[in-house]
């Protein structure tokens, strides 16, 4: 017993041999940041735009971005504005592609670097033509905002916003033309999310739905009600194919549950029969 106590004592003393630095470093990293080792820890854009030295009008940008749809999808400052977020001296260097704030005339091209299909349709639309002729017509940020951009939905088309420039009649007609398809897209997205929660891998269907949605919304940016109406059938067919896959997955889940429940009953039956045998043990 003496040996056990001595060994236990030795083990308890052992922790004290850890160096202070090491422990401190470990405590800082362990269970707080260790698992984010591969992520860029430093982002000088956020750091400066959150500091007291920043002008008040630029101070809210970082917070707005953090709550945005872009942030949720991993689109950071340098993805739009260029620069190097990891190097404070080069974070706003044109040599690292920094472009800063675009002028109003540059906004469509600025956003269109990623949203290519939408840019094309927008430029050919009434909105785009007005923008090109006046240099000051409705552009991306007029409807979507900038840093605090949120996931687009049909409610962006509303009387308050559209009547700033023109009457609401055409916008209302467009909203009506979009309504059913947008509603279907929303329902299917919710169904896919439910399937994911039920343990089904839905990434392929989700990408497919996203692609249909992006194409449909690109079409909307033409602001041509007749064109949207003409092509709605095409999108309905595409969405029907996604819905069919979802229904089929649901059926598959049901049949799995039934099969598993059948096995459950088989074993429960076997167990009951055996229980009756074990009730009267005999030598």
């Amino acid at each position: 017993m003496r040996w056990y106590i001595m060994m236990l004592g030795l083990l308890l003393v052992f922790p004290l041999t850890a160096s202070g630095d090491y422990r401190e470093e470990f405590e800082q990293g362990f269970l707080t940041k260790t698992w984010s080792g591969q992520q860029p820890e430093e982002n000088f854009c956020i750091e400066c735009h959150s500091s007291d030295k920043m002008k008040p009008e630029f101070l809210t940008l970082a917070e707005e971005w953090k709550a945005s749809w872009h942030a949720q999808n991993g689109i950071a400052c340098h993805d739009c504005h260029g620069g190097d977020p990891k190097d404070s001296s080069m974070s706003m260097s044109p040599h690292r592609g920094f472009v800063g704030k675009p002028s109003p005339a540059e906004v469509p091209e600025f956003c269109g670097k990623c949203h290519i299909g939408i840019l094309k349709n927008y430029m050919e639309s009434g909105h785009g033509k007005a923008f090109r002729s006046s240099g000051n017509g409705p552009n991306c940020v007029t409807c979507h905002g900038s840093h605090g951009i949120q996931q687009a939905n049909i409610d962006i088309i509303n009387e308050q916003r559209c009547t700033k420039c023109h009457s609401y009649d055409r916008a209302r007609a467009m909203k009506q033309a979009l309504f059913l398809t947008e509603k279907k897209i929303g329902e299917l997205a919710a169904d896919l999310l439910t399937l994911r929660k039920e343990g089904v891998y839905i990434e392929d269907q989700r990408k497919n739905l996203f692609s249909i949605q992006a194409e449909f919304r690109a079409l909307f940016h033409s602001v041509d009600v007749n064109l949207v109406k003409d092509r709605t059938d095409e999108f309905s067919h595409k969405l029907a194919a996604v819905e069919k896959e979802i229904v089929s997955t649901r059926q598959e889940l049901r049949s799995r549950r039934n099969f598993s429940a059948f096995l459950l009953l088989v074993f429960a039956g076997m167990g009951s029969a055996l229980y009756l045998l074990t009730k009267t043990p005999k030598e």
């Binding site: 017993m1 056990y4 236990l8 083990l11 308890l12 052992f14 922790p15 041999t17 850890a18 160096s19 090491y22 422990r23 470990f26 405590e27 990293g29 362990f30 269970l31 260790t34 698992w35 984010s36 080792g37 591969q38 992520q39 991993g74 994911r196 929660k197 039920e198 343990g199 089904v200 891998y201 839905i202 990434e203 889940l253 799995r256 549950r257 099969f259 598993s260 429940a261 096995l263 459950l264 074993f267 429960a268 076997m270 167990g271 055996l274 229980y275 045998l277 074990t278 043990p281 005999k282 030598e283």
Partner: protein, 366 residues
Amino acid sequence: MNGTAKRIRNWLEVRVGLDELIRSNLTDYRVPSNINLFHTLGAVAVVGYLIQVITGICLLIYYIPHADHAFRSVQEIMTRVPYGWLFRQMHVVGSNLLIAAVFVHMVTIFLMGNYKRPRELTWISGGLLMVITLCFGFSGYLLPWTQLSYWATTVATSIPTAFPVVGDFVSRLLRGGSSVTGITLTRFFAVHVSLLPPLFVFLMVVHIALIRRIGLSATPFGRSDEEKRPLTEFRKKLHPDGYPYYPYLLQKQALMGILYFVVMFLVISFAPTFFFPEEATVPADAFKTPESIRPEWYFLAPYQMLKIIPNKFLGISLQIILLAVFIFWPFLDTHKEKNIFKRPVLRGVFIAIMIAMVILMWWGRR
């Protein structure tokens, strides 16, 4: 018995002495008359292991242990391989049930004092089997290469870095680098399918051989037949007034084995996502940290303990000490009384540990 069966039986009888083999292992092998259902948990664990082996081999046929393909191959198993979903569900649900069964087995053996002399080695081999079972769970958790498994493994493999001198080396050895990558996946895969199984089989053979060699221990509750003689020579516990193993205990074991299947299919049928949270359907992404990272339920108590002890090194050392105390407990508890109801201090400590574990698990889950 028809002619062919009779001929096969005779063929075996003259070569291996089949009748005597069956007699000595089934009907002449006596078990204590006051044996209870808790004595079947070891057999339940064996059933659980067999399920893991069979379903594991089925998964092994289709699984690709490569960071680029692991997640996809698991999804293929779930969606395209005929009954692949069933094998995977049985493997995943089975692993959790198995660990639960092993826990309960150890706890009941502890409560019945069956670790006491001359069964110290049986307890130690059982304790090591439990550690290997947890290693199976730990190494297998990473293999689907999901967000859940990736980040849980990242946290778990950073734990050894709390140790001075050897900590970094151990962590790098586990990961195969400074972070969890495809190399970690292949290492864990190798450990899961080729290192742990032979170790496990060896220990299980030792464990069962010791049980058979020493003889089953009777429950200390009610009529106790334990001798309190000094241990000076080996004497097998024969239980001449007990019941034959077959049918008495074997039937009970079979019943509990079936119950294990019933519980497994109950979970698969009505709670198929119980062990598959949402992150388990998202492929691993080293650049996207999930909002909450937590290990499997059986590691929640030690995980929470690590979180609440300010010095992580002390926390981990304490856990290793507790594990050592647990495994070598028969040498620390030399009291002759087996019945825990007659040992208020031990009973109190046991209840306190159980309550602490439940609180830590609940706390860790939040």
